[in-house]
């Protein structure tokens, strides 16, 4: 786990909300090795999601440097960043964010439309992803026909299907009961331990954080301490 996957160096991030400028991150520096499973915890407004968005290339820092997989992403243009995300990052959100008009398999196939894969290759990749999350029998179901846990599994399969180097998970169990949450977190753990995926997880739930290899605590936009799981 010595190779660095994410390096966040002296990053500042501020937003303008109305007439007010809100400083969210203050000179944050974090390093995440390849194959790590990091839980980011902290109170609301501490900057967890902001940091996650920056690592996932959804937003740009006000200043500072962000390297992911050796590539400096804070200087990429909008289109280049979009293409980088398609190749390197898988996202899992609290409310699953699946396309309601598409079946599970088509939701999973969606990121593959950005690749050069043939229809047959795409179908094969989708089948593998469905198998990994244990939902092969639900391939033709639309999101509204699935339970919350199943929807989240589909979202994880969609995040995995293009074989990204890093998984970004924003409160993935926040909308699930304990048992289902543990199943989802167990799945993430398997993906980290058996498939070598680097995972950054934002959570408020200390039990969820226990599934990670280590936990980072943020408060007022700064790193507090580091705890090994």
């Amino acid at each position: 786990m010595s190779e660095t996957m994410v390096r966040v160096s002296n990053v500042y991030k501020s937003y303008v909300r109305g007439k007010q400028k809100v400083e969210v991150l203050h000179g944050l520096t974090i390093e995440i090795p390849k194959g790590d499973f990091v839980a980011l915890m902290g109170p609301s407004g501490s900057g967890k999601t902001t940091l996650l968005n920056l690592i996932g290339g959804l937003d740009r820092p006000t200043s500072g440097e962000i390297l992911v997989g050796g590539q400096r992403i804070d200087q990429l243009s909008g289109n280049a960043l979009a293409k980088w995300r398609a190749r390197n990052v898988g996202f899992v959100f609290q409310f699953y964010n699946l396309m309601p008009v598409l079946t599970a398999e088509r939701n999973i196939e969606l990121p593959l439309l950005l690749t050069d894969l043939s229809a047959a290759q795409r179908r094969k990749s989708v089948a593998v992803a469905l198998e990994v999350v244990g939902l092969s029998d639900r391939a033709r179901h639309k999101p509204k026909e699935l339970s919350g846990g199943q929807e989240q599994r589909v979202a994880i399969a969609r995040a995995l299907v293009s074989d990204p180097t890093i998984l970004i998970c924003d409160e993935p169990t926040g909308d699930l009961d304990r048992k289902t949450a543990d199943e989802i977190l167990g799945l993430l753990q398997v993906l980290n331990r058996e498939h070598g995926k680097t995972i950054v997880l934002v959570t408020h739930d200390p039990k969820a954080a226990e599934f990670a290899r280590r936990t980072l605590h943020l408060e007022k936009g700064q790193l507090l301490e580091q705890a090994a799981a």
Partner: protein
């Protein structure tokens, strides 16, 4: 799944809304197709007659007849190769169906209108049968008339000397047009002027208009001026113009059809713009988080713009083509046998396709730009 499959899946997200919007597009383009066909008929529809003929009418109005004594003077004008005359008969078929019938000299009609194609034998029969009449193919087919039929036609203007407005003619010929355009105009009937002139109670020795075939169409303006100046300050002043201008003037007596049609279409498309534009905009507003997810997954701003624009275009293209298709079918149904031969032809389709493209851009571009410019972070946070 393909990208177009994704577009159609989104289009069918709310089926009722999509179907209703689609119906409004279909209706608008149906109306567009038919009105544009009317517009073409009234404005460009006279193009097919060419510029080889002039029409001389009374200066005040073509509803006022000219005396036949003008004929030799018109014939004597250099450049005039042949002259025919025609008198509006005011024909009525059965109860109340008005037909376009004219009294003319058969030989002169044949000479001036070579575009009317009919066997020589039938032309000869028309010349030799005083009660003879010929009709265009459309008219014959519509009323099931056959050569040899005795056809009772009333006139709402001219009674016979016995006071009866009921006339009976012998159908001696059915003519076709030399091409598709002329065939579409085979909706006229012609009777023998010599018989009409002798039998009518009044209006003898008169012609509604004179039609002049020119030896050199380039001299049309000069010949028209010569004829009109010849009768200037006489009791029978004339107005001579090309046949195309005459036809357009005839149609324009109803009003500036082109302008009326344009205004109706403007109103239709403005309403359509609001309806479809609102549907697309609403559809985009409803799925801001989904569009943000597309961008999160790596779809570029251009990809997202393309998706929304494609949805708008699909709605307009499907609805537009269905509407134009329906208009074409209705045009065939109602245009074929009427006095006004409208046709939803290639000219209407070209304008229609341009309208579809314009409408797609007009209704899709703004929502598509809005979708493409979404900030992922704000959209996912519901801001």
């Amino acid at each position: 799944m393909t990208r177009s499959g994704f577009v159609f899946a989104n289009l069918l997200r709310k089926k009722t809304r999509t179907v209703l919007t689609l119906l409004s597009v279909v209706t608008a383009f149906l109306l567009f197709g038919l009105l544009q066909a009317v517009n073409v008929m009234f404005s460009a529809g006279a193009d097919f007659v060419g510029a080889t003929r002039l029409v001389t009418q009374a200066r005040v109005s073509f509803t006022q007849s000219l005396p036949m004594r003008l004929l030799p003077e018109i014939e004597a004008v250099p450049g005039v190769e042949q002259v025919m005359w025609q008198q509006w008969f005011g024909a009525v078929w059965q109860e109340n169906t008005q037909l376009f019938f004219f009294a003319t000299d058969p030989a002169r009609l044949h000479a001036v209108y070579p575009e009317y194609v009919m066997p020589d034998q039938q032309w000869k029969a028309f010349e030799e049968t005083r009660t003879g009449m010929i009709v265009g193919r459309i008219l014959a087919d519509k009323y099931g008339w056959r050569i040899g039929d005795k056809v009772p036609i009333a006139s709402n203007i001219f009674p016979q000397k016995n006071g009866s407005k009921a006339w009976i003619f012998d159908l001696v010929g059915i003519y076709d047009g030399k091409d598709e355009e002329w065939q579409r105009n085979t909706n006229l009937g012609w009777i023998n002027h010599a018989y009409f002139d002798e039998a009518t109670l009044f209006g003898t020795g008169l012609a509604g208009t004179f039609t002049l075939k020119l030896s050199n169409p380039d001299q049309a303006a000069q010949i028209a001026q010569t004829i009109d100046s010849k009768f200037e300050n006489s009791p029978d002043e004339t107005k001579t113009q090309t046949e195309k201008d005459f036809n357009l003037g005839f149609f324009k007596q109803i009003g500036d059809i082109g302008l009326i049609v344009r205004w109706i279409l403007f109103a239709v498309f403005f309403t359509l713009l609001l309806v479809v534009g609102n549907t697309i905009a609403q559809s985009v507003r409803e799925r801001i988080p989904e569009l943000a997810i597309l961008k999160t997954l790596g779809f570029t701003d251009g990809n997202v713009l393309g998706f929304v624009l494609a949805e708008a275009a699909a709605m307009c293209v499907i609805g537009g083509l269905l509407g134009l298709g329906l208009a074409t079918l209705i045009g065939i149904k109602i245009g074929g046998g009427g006095n006004f031969p409208i046709a939803v032809d290639h000219r209407v389709w070209i304008t229609g396709v341009l309208a579809i493209v314009g409408l797609s851009l007009a209704v899709g571009l703004l929502p598509a730009l809005r979708a493409s410019r979404l900030s992922i972070v704000d959209a996912l946070a519901g801001r």
